[in-house]
């Protein structure tokens, strides 16, 4: 599904290397988690995957289902099936949530040569999926993320994910700013999307999200590299001993 080879990335403005050779393969149907201390390059990886400006890839490759996504614009990556749930979802005054969702769904369909979704089918789907995320009609009518609480913003990200039905989902610190109940709700939303045709990359600081979204593989990232890979037990090790043990072990 997702194949990252020796990825090296500089911050464009500062000529500073953030990712120093990342290797990562996510197979479809699998959930991978990336954990790591602050400043290890986790969020940078998610931005580079989604095509945000300001980063310069100096080496390596990213393939999504064998297509080189580094050559694609962000919208082309989205149409190819990549989705990033933002750590900080952006507020967009003046753009209605529904309009935004429908425009996005249809833009992707059009890019893939599919027909646009009818207004009634779209409404039905949104209502259904919003309902299970406890997103009410009022929230759907409001401008994108404007005046949403932290939990509402994250649920809205998952709703977008549910509507866009991506192949490869990247969740960037989706647990940040969430209380336990909100985290459960978000995790349920994510779990309901788990299937054999879809891969997940869950970026998080903490083990607790992984209690709810059970990963198949856990990676530890430090100083721009994946330094250790293991099963779910690796996350528990981090929880109990912190990162320093693992980091000194690999150093």
């Amino acid at each position: 599904m997702l194949d990252i080879r020796d990825l090296r990335v500089n911050l464009e403005d500062e000529n500073k290397e953030i990712l120093k050779g990342v290797d990562l393969t996510v197979d479809s149907g699998k959930v991978h988690a990336i954990m790591g201390p602050n400043g290890s390059g986790k969020s940078t990886l998610s931005y580079v995957l989604s095509g945000k400006e300001g980063y310069e890839v100096t080496h390596g490759s990213i393939l999504l289902n064998d297509s080189d996504i580094l050559e694609m614009e962000p919208e082309e990556r989205a149409a190819a099936g990549l989705f990033l749930a933002f750590q900080y979802p952006v507020e967009i005054p003046g753009v209605g949530n529904m309009t935004f969702l429908r425009t996005a769904v249809n833009a992707q369909r059009k890019a893939r040569g599919e027909t646009e979704i009818s207004a009634t089918d779209f409404l039905k789907q949104v209502r259904e999926r919003a309902n299970s995320l406890q997103i009410d009609a009022e929230m759907l009518k409001r401008p994108v993320n404007v005046g949403f609480s932290g939990g509402e913003k994250k649920r809205n990200e998952i709703l977008q994910m549910a509507m866009l039905e991506p192949k490869m989902c990247i969740l960037d610190e989706t647990d940040s700013g969430l209380d336990v109940d909100a985290m459960k709700l978000v995790a349920e939303g994510v779990n309901s999307l788990r299937d054999n045709g879809r891969g997940f990359l869950v970026i998080t600081h903490y083990q607790r999200l992984l209690d709810h979204i059970k990963p198949d593989v856990v990676h530890i990232m430090a100083d721009g590299k994946i330094v250790k890979t293991g099963g779910p037990e690796l996350a528990l090790e981090v929880e109990n001993n912190g990162y320093s043990d693992i980091l000194s072990e690999v150093a």
């Binding site: 945000k52 400006e53 614009e73 990556r77 989205a78 952006v90 507020e91 967009i92 309009t99 833009a107």
Partner: protein, 425 residues
């Protein structure tokens, strides 16, 4: 200097026009406007309120050889069931206008010089009182020489909007003066569309009696070769509501002045504008002057401009709160979205307050498309172009939301979208 010569010639022309013709019931008002004009002279680039917009362009340019707008696209409100009043090259055209007969509203033309008319006590009076804090010579010139216009007196319930449609057949100049009087508790929705003329000078005087309701939505500037100077004057009595929205897309130079006097307690006045302009020749100027002269009135100014490829936007807006106008609620926002580095927005917001129990706020900003928002939209599969359009429409939304009639608001949004997509080619 050319402009001074032009000024002299124009005033002289106006003088001979007025003194040789008799314009019936409006003759006296025209003569007095002429003497106002002689005293103040035509506007000059050195004048405080003409610093950002060169008036010479509104007076001296040669109109020969310029494009003439076609009739098909003139009426953006074609889908709205409205009573149509058509002007062509500055003259009322009964053959193209809808017939109208109702006790609840009288509609006459200014050029009808017949007997004593109700409008004679109103014609030019708001313009006469509207020369503060600065003179508005183009409005005085208009009162003096206006070739035609519509006189609407609303006396009861009317069930559909009135549409003023302006067509042109030649590269003409037109001077139109409209007068609207709405009796206590009555309402009127007035729509305006079309080029009217290559160079247009319009004055609209709006008298709102107690509890009267006026909603005005106009579109202007669709054509490239077009200059316009418009003035809206209104006197708003107690509990009356005034709303005016203007969409300006393209055109060369447009100056819209709006001079509102909130003279009755608890009245409301909203004036809004969305303008979208492309290229170095586009110059759009909104100049607003609102006087609060009564208790507990609300005024709102919302002006948004989208500028690109060297376009210029100007906003001059002033709120004057007179002594005794307590509980005033005044709001003013002027913003520009600059889609490139070449465009410019010049803003002069002013507040002058002589009462001590008021809420007045104003803000003015100038910025580019929000890169974070743009990336967010693109990351969901929306192309950069479409995302930019969405954010541009979102930027204009606060102004468009001032339109109460939803159907009309949708038409305005469609027009803006069409402008945005035309720009892509």
């Amino acid at each position: 200097m050319a402009l001074e010569q032009e000024t002299f010639d124009r005033i002289d022309n106006a003088k001979s026009q007025i003194l040789t013709q008799n314009r019936g019931w409006s003759q006296k008002s025209r003569e007095s406007a002429l003497s106002r004009l002689s005293n103040i002279g035509l506007p000059n680039h050195r004048d405080e309120y003409w610093k950002y917009t060169n008036p010479a362009e509104l007076l001296t340019n040669d109109l020969h050889g310029l494009s003439v707008a076609n009739h098909e696209e003139a009426n953006v409100f074609a889908e709205v069931d409205a009573l149509k009043i058509v002007f062509c090259d500055g003259i009322y055209r009964p053959d193209l206008s809808d017939e109208f007969l109702s006790d609840n509203m009288s509609i006459n033309r200014l050029a009808d010089e017949g007997d004593l008319h109700w409008a004679q006590n109103y014609y030019g009076t708001l313009e006469r009182n509207g020369h503060t804090p600065v003179a508005r010579p183009l409005a005085a010139l208009n009162t003096a020489i206006a070739s035609d216009g519509v006189l609407i007196h609303v006396k009861g319930n009317i069930d559909k909007p009135v549409l003023l449609l302006g067509l042109q057949n030649t590269q003409a100049e037109a001077t139109l003066h409209h007068l609207i009087k709405i009796d206590p508790g009555c309402s009127l929705t007035l729509l305006e569309s079309g080029p009217f003329a290559t160079r247009l000078n319009t004055v609209m005087e709006v008298f709102l009696e107690k509890g009267a309701n006026f909603e005005h939505v106009r579109t202007q500037g669709r054509e490239h070769d077009r200059w316009g100077a418009t003035h809206i004057f209104s006197d708003i009595k107690e509990e009356a509501k005034f709303k005016s929205f203007t969409l300006t897309a393209n055109g060369i130079l447009t100056r819209n002045e709006c001079i509102l006097n909130l003279s009755g307690d608890n009245c409301v006045a909203h004036v809004a504008g969305a303008s979208v302009g492309d290229g170095k020749t586009f110059h759009h100027d909104d100049t607003v002057f609102i006087t609060h002269d009564a208790v507990a009135c609300e005024s709102r100014q919302v002006f948004k401009k989208v500028l690109r490829n060297g376009a210029t936007g100007v906003f001059q807006g002033k709120i004057l709160v007179k002594e005794g106008a307590q509980k005033t609620d005044g709001y003013q926002i002027s913003q520009s979205l600059l889609l490139d580095d070449d465009s410019q927005f010049l803003a002069k917001p002013e507040l002058e307050i002589y009462a001590d129990d008021v809420v007045c706020s104003h803000g003015s900003t100038s910025g580019a498309i929000d890169e974070q928002a743009l990336f967010y939209l693109c990351s969901r599969g929306i192309s950069k172009e479409d995302a930019t359009d969405m954010l541009t429409l979102a930027f204009l939304a606060e102004a468009v939301e001032e339109i109460e009639n939803e159907n009309v608001a949708n038409i305005i949004v469609e027009k803006i979208s069409a402008w945005l997509s035309r720009r892509k080619n």
